[in-house]
Symmetry: none
Subunit: 204 residues, 4 copies
DNA sequence: CATGAATGAGGATTCATTCAT
DNA sequence: CATGAATGAATCCTCATTCAT
């Protein structure tokens, strides 16, 4: 490894430290109490150094969110699709999504309940035509379409349907995250009942 | 009215002023920029006086949220129930809820996307047996039960169903609030499609 | 003295302390190194307290400047005018002005060599019609007019003449302030020669 | 060109880049916002490198000022002198000076309203005997002397007269620079009136 | 009951400068 | 000769809270 490479690597390392620390604080204390000072403290550097790696606080948060959410969506894409049972596939995907999010609830809050300009823009889902941009919605659309084709799902506007599947699941998820004390069994009952109603709602 | 009574009343008056001002700031500037000093400014009292009426900032917010949300639920209860069409009644109630919330999005965010301890507890909906506590859920439950009785809604756990109706609607609503730029037509399409799927999901 | 009065007085006292400290720092270290922290240090209060008395740094500076410059102009107005010799009166006034300024050179710099918006506006002198606003220019104008009337000053646009008397004197003054090491005798020779040329320039 | 020579030349080149960049920032953003990092950014070198060529920030500024002002004076010297009309020559030179300065007001401020030790020393004009050092004053002195000889200017101390011509013009100029909003016509009226009075003040 | 001055900690940023590489 | 990461102090300002009056 040459000198420049090691430099490069070290630089990357600090950058990642910052992002990791930011993510950690986000997860531990929530969005509101994420501060440059706290990050600097966490990584045991001086506050100023952070500005070598990021333009400002917003850029840090944006990066954390983007990478964090990206990682989740990545995992989501890896879920195998069962072409014979598109309705089951939808349920499985969304259930996987719920489980992933419940594992890192603070990230979920930081990303999906966040009202900061520039963050909300990165996870928007309700625009008309969004299915062309968001791969996750795209994938949902494909399942729905396939479901319609093989007669398991009734005929409906595909994108709108994908959006409603997502928003309704998002609603359950966000309450599960915010109402921390729900016992596991109740969680499961709610999730099951959610998909019970949702899939019936999609069916012929 | 005796002296002590007037004292009581005056005390109550200032307390309400504080809550009203806090709610106003919340609705105008959002949760993050609500500060004791701004409240004091708004009511034209000194900052110190606020601590006569409330232990700390958290208590103010908790109270505002509680009362604010209560008012919303109150309005909700005033919506007439059409016993012949419980499914329509459900749709109407929830649509009214959406509209009320879209009118005061900052309050919605402050209340329902808020993760502060003590606030989330006041709007929780997912506990088992919650229908005995929350009148709003109770009312939803009655509609569902009636729907089941007259055969318009399939047989399901009533409370769970009410919770899912609420969480799924909440999911759509929260995204509508956070994704600010959605055009009116798209909003309406989403809302309509949401109830299209939801009601089908409830039906026999 | 009642309680409220003493309160009032104490408040005024701190306010004045702040202004005095600001003036002192301005005079000692110059405009660029005036900071809220330094003021707070100087008055031995915490930095935050300053914001009870002034909206922000700009307001402090504006007040210091206004009061400081105002005091100078006040003194200027107290200089007796010799109606028989308006040219001598002009010289005396402007000489007095020079002397006053040379006593507090840092204030002069802070006020008259300052480029901050909001400060420059308070000492502007070149606008057409300014003689209606600035009493100091007004007074100069009166002397000129009188000089014209009794034939000691040639006929010229009065306001423009006042402005040039002021700018040219200001030019000498500003260099005297910035070139610190000029010996007293040289200073006097320059000042005398300045008025020698200036008054000849005004004469018939 | 040998290696050492090229090295010399390259070194000189970077040095000049730094000075050029500093001048540019000075002229664009003003004195207060000139920072080492901005210079480094501008020349696309690292901040550290600047300290190879200059001891500190002050040295850079001093050099920029010196060279910048020198360039202005250079241009001034190129203005042709009309020996028949030394008074007109004085007016033309000083008017040219005003115009040059009004073209780059930030430089003017940085140089001539600057109170930093080491800068003021480089543009001083008021010392006795300065005409032997400053070519610009020297040139002014020659015109005055010639004017006296041919009877167009009354007999006066030549150097002092040159200094007053310069300070009075400088006074007008500095206010024109600081009072930004003066309309063009008013500017011209002021400048004309300034020379009207000044030249009359010099005449027999 | 009410005041409002005061604190002390914390917020984001920017800076000149140093120094190991 | 040049890098650029790192520092530490400084910038202005806002905040919740306390407490003597």
């Amino acid at each position: 490894m040459g000198i420049t490479e090691r430099r490069e690597a070290e630089k990357e390392a600090v950058r990642n430290k910052i992002l990791y620390a930011a993510g950690k604080i986000l997860a531990r204390d929530g969005y509101e109490s994420l501060s440059i000072r706290k990050i600097a403290n966490e990584i045991e550097y001086s506050p100023g150094v952070i500005y070598h790696y990021f333009k400002d606080k917003a850029e840090i948060i944006a990066t954390v969110v983007e990478e964090g959410y990206g990682r989740i969506l990545q995992k989501l894409r890896e879920i195998p699709v069962d072409l014979e049972n598109p309705d089951k596939s939808i349920e499985n995907s969304m259930k996987a999504y719920i489980e992933l999010m419940l594992e890192t609830p603070e990230q979920f809050k930081a990303v999906l309940l966040n009202d900061t300009v520039g963050i909300a823009d990165k996870v928007n889902m309700l625009d008309e035509g969004i299915s062309k941009e968001r791969k996750s919605i795209q994938s949902l659309c494909r399942m729905i379409q396939h479901g319609i084709e093989i007669g398991k799902i009734r005929e409906m506007d595909i994108e709108l349907t994908a959006q409603i599947i997502w928003t309704s699941t998002h609603g359950l998820l966000s309450r599960l995250v915010l109402e921390k004390r729900i016992p596991k069994e109740q969680k499961e009952r709610l999730i099951d009942h959610h998909f019970n109603i949702l899939l019936k709602g999609l069916s012929k």
